[in-house]
């Protein structure tokens, strides 16, 4: 387990000095005379890429296909980004690296918990008045196994790793490293926006952020922006900073004063990065950076404040290797989103953002990342550069299904309006590939994705299905609305349950707190459930809802991490996915429902239905048909042998 203690000033200085000394000494790196550039486009779909290449809309990819190699890349089981990128990073599968889903569960409570990173809370010290010596909370990564850049660095090869998912806290093993998916915001969540409104009546959102009221005066509106919890207080409370919005009596323009920062915005404008300080005690504060979006001044004052980003110039916890690399990037290319998944899909799915507003915000994030990509290409000289782009995935989730005539949300007018969005994403990816080819003409270029994409039309609630099949028994079946988080489940009579998008767990005796299934009966039960799942038909489509099941003990390599994951992974048919409610242990009346949410597309299905892509500008040493086999092939380009390459299903 890698750990990162909240960095103190002194420690950062020491780290910086150590890094400077390391760089001064050359860091033990050797000149390889090679440049291997790997571009990772999250969620780039093989079939769709081929269609656009055929239509002449992706000339750089077409060149790779013509002059190098092109093939679908086998994805992970299930095809979810944390798992897929962990497969790539470690060359192993979930049995070894221990990431099975976005959500795992605590067998002691049955409650879902994040699989991406954990916080180990320390013991607080004694109180002195209202203040105390704070606990030393530590972030821990849950991914096990060595990343592929470790053997490279051990062999003296420089590695630059930008935003590799599930690499928070930073491994500290690369020459330069910036953390990606899994990096929290300053509050420790995966990104919680704040939305302020002067409206008297408003709806709060269920997740992803919070709506706050503004007190309206003649020429201004006042509110409070809440920050992270103040760990120095004996009585825990959130830090806060005052927010005042002064608005013009005539024009739709306002001055937003946030703590000591102020900016002027016209209605509909986004601000640049604004630094906000939250006082912890009279001598110390913690700083965050935010972007503001003044949605309207009239009839109501509405202001969106992005999730509080860990300030790259003054990070509260390390987000890069060396520790000051994030600050260097900010100096060179400007402020940037540091949270792992910066596109605010929650604001879109909660309908706080219109689709147009979401696309603007997503474009802002993409431009920052592309600007840093330009910097990386200009400064990278030797060794391996990995660069991750998440925009392709997080825009596709919201937009892909809108042009699918079979999607429940399909609206011909909207489909026409947004017809260019997904092709635009792919064309932009093509431009980035062209940029890499032009700026580093001698480099070996590898363009890959972790999985493909599909329209998500139908949702299946696995827990409701288990209930209907008699595997999950409720305490009170007459409840009109299930309270969620399995609170109405009678564990003394339940044999199986689902957590996460694809995970199915047996209520196993000796493992789950109230387990009833004997370990010796588990395989038979899983076979029985698997057969029934494969025979399940969606009554609306008339097609199979599940096309593949993966009993984990038989499918995955037998690593030590198997125990933390589900007993079976459900491979939904293309177009179907596990429901959001079901993932969190909430049962619905019907097993199947139309997907009418703003999250219109997904990939968490049968892994063979959504392969990723692999393009290279010249043949690699040997083929890499799957994610787990790719990293070993890449490190072999530098003559480094022996990195794991697990064949899926073996």
């Amino acid at each position: 387990m890698r750990r990162a203690r909240a960095a103190t000033l002194g420690r950062r200085i020491l780290l910086a000095a150590a890094c400077a000394a390391m760089l001064a000494c050359g860091g033990g790196h050797r000149e390889t005379g090679q440049q291997l550039v790997v571009l990772g486009f999250d969620g780039m779909d093989w079939t769709y890429t081929q269609e656009l290449i055929a239509a002449g809309r992706m000339p750089a990819f077409a060149r790779l296909q013509r002059e190098g190699t092109a093939a679908p890349l086998g994805t992970s089981v299930p095809p979810l980004s944390p798992i897929a990128w962990s497969n790539f990073t470690t060359g192993t599968d979930s049995g070894h690296h221990g990431i099975f889903d976005f959500l795992h569960r605590d067998p002691a409570t049955y409650f879902p918990k994040s699989s991406l990173a954990e916080v180990e809370e320390g013991e607080p010290g004694p109180c002195f008045g209202k203040y105390r010596i704070p606990p030393t909370d530590e972030f821990e990564t849950t991914r096990q196994g060595d990343p592929f850049w470790k053997p490279l660095e051990e062999d003296g090869v420089e590695s630059w790793i930008f935003r590799m998912p599930i690499d928070f806290p930073p491994s500290g093993l690369a020459t330069r490293e910036l953390t990606g998916m899994g990096t929290p915001d300053l509050t420790g969540s995966l990104g919680e926006f704040s939305f302020f409104t002067s409206a008297l009546f408003y709806d709060d959102v269920s997740s992803g952020g919070k709506v706050y009221p503004l007190d309206l005066w003649e020429d201004r509106a006042e509110g409070t922006l809440y920050g992270p919890e103040n760990i120095f207080l004996c009585e825990p409370a959130k830090t806060e900073t005052p927010l005042t919005i002064y608005f013009d009596p005539v024009e739709d323009v306002a001055k937003v004063v946030l703590g000591e920062s102020e900016t002027i915005l016209a209605a509909g404008e986004w601000s640049d990065w604004v630094t906000v300080s939250f006082a912890l005690h009279p001598l110390e504060s913690v700083s965050a950076s935010v972007r503001l979006y003044l949605r309207s001044v009239r009839p109501e004052v509405e202001l969106y404040v992005s999730p509080l980003q860990i300030d790259p110039r003054n990070p509260a916890t390390p987000i890069s290797t060396p520790a000051d690399f994030a600050a260097l990037l900010a100096e060179e290319t400007g402020g940037f989103y540091t949270q792992g998944m910066p596109e605010d899909t929650k604001a879109a799915t909660e309908k706080l953002f219109s689709i147009d507003e979401y696309l603007v915000q997503a474009r802002i994030t993409a431009e920052e990342i592309e600007k840093q990509f330009g910097w990386a290409l200009d400064h990278f000289e030797d060794g391996m550069l990995f660069y991750y782009f998440g925009n392709t995935d997080l825009v596709s989730h919201i937009m892909w299904g809108r042009t699918d005539p079979e999607h429940p949300l399909y609206d011909p007018a909207a489909a026409e309006k947004y017809a260019g969005v997904i092709p635009g994403l792919y064309e932009r990816a093509d431009e980035l590939v062209a940029m890499a080819l032009e700026r580093l003409p001698e480099a070996t270029l590898v363009v890959m994705s972790d999985h493909g994409f599909a329209s998500w039309r139908r949702a299946m609630n696995l827990n409701s299905w288990l209930r209907d099949e008699g595997y999950l028994v409720l305490k009170d079946p007459s409840l009109a609305k299930d309270p969620g988080l399995f609170r109405n489940v009678d564990w003394s009579r339940s044999r199986a349950y689902g957590v996460g998008f694809n995970g199915l767990y047996v209520n196993q005796r000796g493992r789950e707190r109230q387990g009833i299934v004997d370990p010796s009966a588990k395989d038979a039960l899983l076979d029985e459930i698997g057969e029934k799942l494969l025979a399940t038909v969606d009554p609306k489509t008339g097609g199979r809802a599940v096309t593949r099941v993966y009993p984990t003990a038989r499918y995955f390599s037998h690593g030590r991490a198997l125990a933390v994951g589900p007993d079976m992974i459900v491979g939904y048919a293309k177009g179907t996915r596990g429901s959001n409610d079901g993932a969190l242990g909430e049962l619905e009346t019907e097993v199947f429902s139309d997907n009418t949410g703003q999250w219109t597309a997904d990939h968490s299905m049968d892994h063979e239905a959504v392969p990723g892509i692999l393009f290279t500008n010249r043949p690699l040493g040997r083929p890499a048909p799957t994610l787990t086999e790719l990293a070993a092939v890449l490190v072999e380009e530098f003559g480094v042998e022996g990195f794991p390459a697990v064949t899926p299903g073996s």
């Binding site: 201004r220 002064y246 013009d248 005539v250 024009e251 306002a254 001055k255 900016t263």
Partner: protein, 272 residues
């Protein structure tokens, strides 16, 4: 006052301009020499060495008393009290030299502050331009416009905040340079400097209406006319970080004055 400020601006511009090719620490090393050179004669002529020596001897005596009579609580407390008293007396002997030194030093430090304490507005970044009226104003929103030279863009219409008596605009810096913004407010014209650069340069975050005190504090730009309805025009520059309320350049300057003092004290015959 403006005549003095104009001379100081010219002198500071010439000196710091001549040193502009050097890194900041080297500039501070040079300036530390200048500061020490100014301080030395003042110290020599105004520092009462005999008085200071007497206080120092009394401090040593009190410390000796504490060590000698450490088994007697009353004597120990009296010794401690005397240490504090004579230390205060010793520091008091510095008062006159410091007061006299502050006369030439204050403008030096003020100009260094406006030269080195602010971060520049970088090309691509935004800043806020504010014109603040001296008194509450009747009659609704003033007629106001900003004209920016090429290289700077005015991004928003004028924002009028009656309660703060402020007009404000957001400006976007496009190209590096020293710019003069032209403001037309209620039929009168004003100007305000804006520096778009990341390099050390004389930056004036606030241009006040003419008054002795404010001109002493903000000498980096000529003041607004004394009869101006505006109290000040400001451009927001981010302040660089500081440690114990002293900016980095201040610590570097202080650090370099020590070796200069040790080198120069013998030629000047200064003892402390």
């Amino acid at each position: 006052m403006e005549a003095i400020n104009a001379i100081l601006r010219a002198a500071a511009g010439a000196l710091l301009g001549a040193l502009s090719a050097l890194p900041e620490w080297a500039v501070m090393a040079v300036l530390a020499f200048v500061v020490t050179l100014i301080a030395m004669p003042i110290m020599k002529w105004t520092f009462n060495l005999a008085l200071a020596e007497r206080f120092k001897r009394q401090i040593y005596a009190s410390l000796f008393e504490i060590r000698l009579f450490n088994d007697r609580l009353g004597a120990t407390f009296l010794g401690l009290f005397n240490v504090l008293r004579f230390t205060g007396g010793y520091l008091g002997s510095w008062l006159l030299p410091i007061l006299l030194m502050s006369i030439p030093m204050a403008p030096i430090f003020v100009f260094l502050h406006f030269h080195y304490s602010y971060e520049g507005v970088r090309p691509g970044a935004s800043t806020v331009l504010t014109a603040e009226f001296a008194a509450a104003r009747d009659g609704g929103k003033p007629a106001a416009a900003v004209s920016a030279p090429a290289g700077v863009r005015v991004d928003t219409p004028a924002l009028w905040i009656p309660a703060q008596r402020q007009l404000a605009w957001r400006l976007a810096a496009e190209k590096p340079g020293d710019y003069e913004l032209e403001l037309a407010i209620d039929g009168r014209d004003y100007t305000k400097t804006l520096v778009v650069s990341d390099d050390a340069a004389l930056r004036s975050p606030l241009r006040p209406r003419a008054s002795l005190f404010r001109q002493m504090i903000y000498p980096a730009e000529p003041p607004l006319p004394a009869d101006s309805p505006l109290a000040a025009i400001t451009v927001e520059y981010a302040e660089k970080g500081s440690f114990l309320f002293v900016p980095a350049w201040g610590w570097i300057l202080l650090l370099f004055t020590v070796p200069w003092f040790l080198l120069l004290k013998r030629p000047f015959g200064v003892e402390i």
